[in-house]
Subunit: 418 residues, 2 copies
């Protein structure tokens, strides 16, 4: 493979996670090892930054800052949900890449982002512009195909599992067979995160919280829910329910606590958690329901993050650079689990087009027959992903996170109309 | 002081916290040092357990378990909100104490619990039954009078501050001067917890999140809120708002996102956070608002707890036993801050009746004139309380908490009708 001399551009896209910055740290650290890489740029807010030439010089950041990214949540370069649509957008991307001699493009994101990277890669090839494009997996939703799991997932499961354990201590102190504690977690289309709450059960303690998990994969039935809760409350002083925000009824419609509107018709209040609470109020006299909805903090909870997850995200960033140097392009880094009992994880490669158009569903056979608990296959799959604690440094009593200096790269082209 | 030989009873009451169990550990550890203490009992669910003779033998728990209580959230003995009302209830308490030769009663709780302890103490004195009653302060609300601060407060502030920092990383990645992130925290009657979010700002970074804090102490005005948010969004890419659940309007009524009802008239949805989001939707076109409402997990978040807080809770438990041995009674342990610049904390004593009828308000002079930020006096007050990280042990990727064996003490009396 002939050496390709030029500049690196790295970007982030989609929802932030606790570990997407670790992947950027991996890209920067590895890029510094290769003489054929001249500049290391970051694009602000993903493809938006490319269209607008909003680049920063990552090589000028301090080593301390880059190291700090390994435990800093969010997306330090900024992210976007902008989708390149028009042909003109794609042409502009290439024009900007040529102007800045970008020869290596790394994009961390989920399905949509990998689709964007794929299209950019194919257009460059078509125009004969030598460009190596490598995707880096990122999503708390754990729904990318091919890869064994996705950076970001282990950390959100660790936080949710921690929260279930702590909330269980709280509920156990209060309940007298009359308390339902509902935790609504993220996951609009799949139950990967809600299922992960099952990790809170200690080994050989099947009656530990969470007692009931409601997943988008299992059509919701009010009758079954009421019976489930009654059964648990007979046995336990409290019933802990975990529900994914994307819970659907048998017609495939999202359940939601009524069409609540304020005086102005705004604000659609109440999701799956509030809905379940309303069912308790309606069907179970003398039982109290309370709802916690951690929301976005759960995907940013680096202080309770998985070291395994952060390390793998870093490794994926490094692997992306190595693969590009080796001449690979139009592929995404995947995580490949070793086949031995002792967990190991290496990186692999998969065509971007395979990632862009697929979705990995939570296997139905990992859900127990009751529809509200997970079996040992699921536990075996997730267990290694939550191991180790991210070594977040504390300063004055709170976690200290890295902030980029963001030294701007000069713009070389006329402005572009979005 | 003549030696009083007999048994200890310790109980917990009110809402659980991240450190109330540390106080129990302190009581047990200290009680073992004194020969005049024969048995160490715990009452299950506070006064309810007394009325029903539901006692456990704490001395029979393993040392590992008692040590584990120092970082276990919730209330391991169970708690209650039952208020002793009838004279018969109080008579029953004394009858049970006499039957089990309880001579030392330690009660960890907030105002109501200290009031209960006070009444029990006075009745015993009146009846000539020698009993030493010591209250142990406990509340995340930090509203007990006399004591400098309350065990439980430092940990909830540390968790809220951590959450604000992480959520800020997430919001900063997404916002383009068009995103309002609202975090609703606990605190029905006072803004101590919401104010604590101010600790998330780094020193000399006044523009750090949280940008706006809305407190129950400052009457809410929609016009000012809209103007506040607009001002922040001009300067910052996102606006982070922290609001206490007890926000009130100028008439003193709780604000709430409309009278949302489901088809059955149940479920009063939406609190202060949802209300602020509805105002954004209504008054600020093209600005998106999102709400996180961590709920009860915030008061149980031992994994992000303050070591200072947990250590002081333990110390308060020890001090309660020492004071009782010294002949004190009808008092609560207080935390007394040293007067030097270097933070120190000792315990003191205050009459239970002073605690039961007072409330410590967040000083108005610690809130800046803008009504939405805290001044340096507040920061200086809270800073020491969040220092150090509770050393929670991890097992298989998640925090491992202590569970009591709960060996029951034989009942000696006929059952009591509640």
């Amino acid at each position: 493979m002939p050496e390709l001399v030029g500049n690196v551009l790295v970007g982030q896209s989609g929802g932030p996670t606790a570990v997407i910055n670790a992947s950027i740290a991996g890209v920067v650290a590895e890029a510094l090892n290769h003489g054929c890489i001249e500049e290391i740029y970051g694009t602000l807010n993903g493809v938006l930054g490319i269209l607008q030439e909003d680049f920063i010089d990552l090589a000028s950041e301090s080593q301390q800052t880059i190291r700090g990214l390994r435990h800093t949540p969010g997306a330090a370069l900024g992210t976007c949900r902008y989708k390149l649509k028009k042909q003109a957008d794609f042409e502009r991307v290439l024009e900007v890449f040529k102007a800045h001699n970008i020869r290596y493009f790394f994009y961390a994101g989920g399905n949509d982002s990998q689709d964007t990277a794929d299209k950019i890669s194919k257009l460059a090839a078509q125009q004969g512009y030598e460009l190596r494009v490598i995707g880096i997996p990122k999503t708390i939703d754990n729904d990318l195909p091919v890869t064994d799991h996705c950076p970001g997932y282990g950390s959100v499961v660790k936080f949710v599992g921690t929260t279930v354990r702590e909330l269980a201590c709280d509920a156990e102190a209060m309940g007298q067979h009359d308390l339902v504690t509902i935790l609504e977690v993220m996951g609009r289309n799949a139950g990967w995160i809600a299922a992960g709450a099952a990790m809170a059960k200690r080994r050989d303690h099947p009656h530990d919280a969470p007692h009931l998990i409601y997943l988008p994969e299992v059509a919701f039935s009010t009758e079954k829910f009421v019976a489930d809760v009654q059964r648990v409350l007979k046995r336990e002083k409290y019933c802990m329910v975990v529900v994914g925000e994307g819970l659907v009824d048998s017609d495939g419609n999202y359940v939601s606590a009524a069409e609540a509107t304020d005086a102005f018709g705004h604000a659609q209040l109440g999701g799956a958690g509030d809905y379940l609470a309303s069912l308790v109020a309606q069907h179970l006299p003398n039982v109290k329901a309370r709802v916690s909805k951690p929301g976005h903090p759960q995907r940013a909870a680096a202080h309770a993050g998985s070291k395994t997850d952060a390390d793998e995200a870093y490794m994926a960033g490094q692997a992306a650079v190595k693969a590009a140097i080796d001449g690979e392009s139009d592929v995404m880094i995947t995580l490949v689990r070793g086949e031995t009992d002792h967990y190991t994880c290496e990186t692999g490669l998969a065509p971007l087009s395979d990632i862009a158009n697929g979705v990995k569903k939570l296997p139905r056979e990992w859900i127990n027959e009751d529809g509200t608990s997970m079996n040992h296959q699921f536990v075996r799959y997730v267990q290694p992903l939550i191991q180790g604690e991210t070594p977040v440094p504390y300063e004055n009593g709170l976690p200290a996170f890295a902030k980029l200096d963001k030294v701007r790269v000069d713009k070389l082209l006329p402005a572009y109309e979005l």
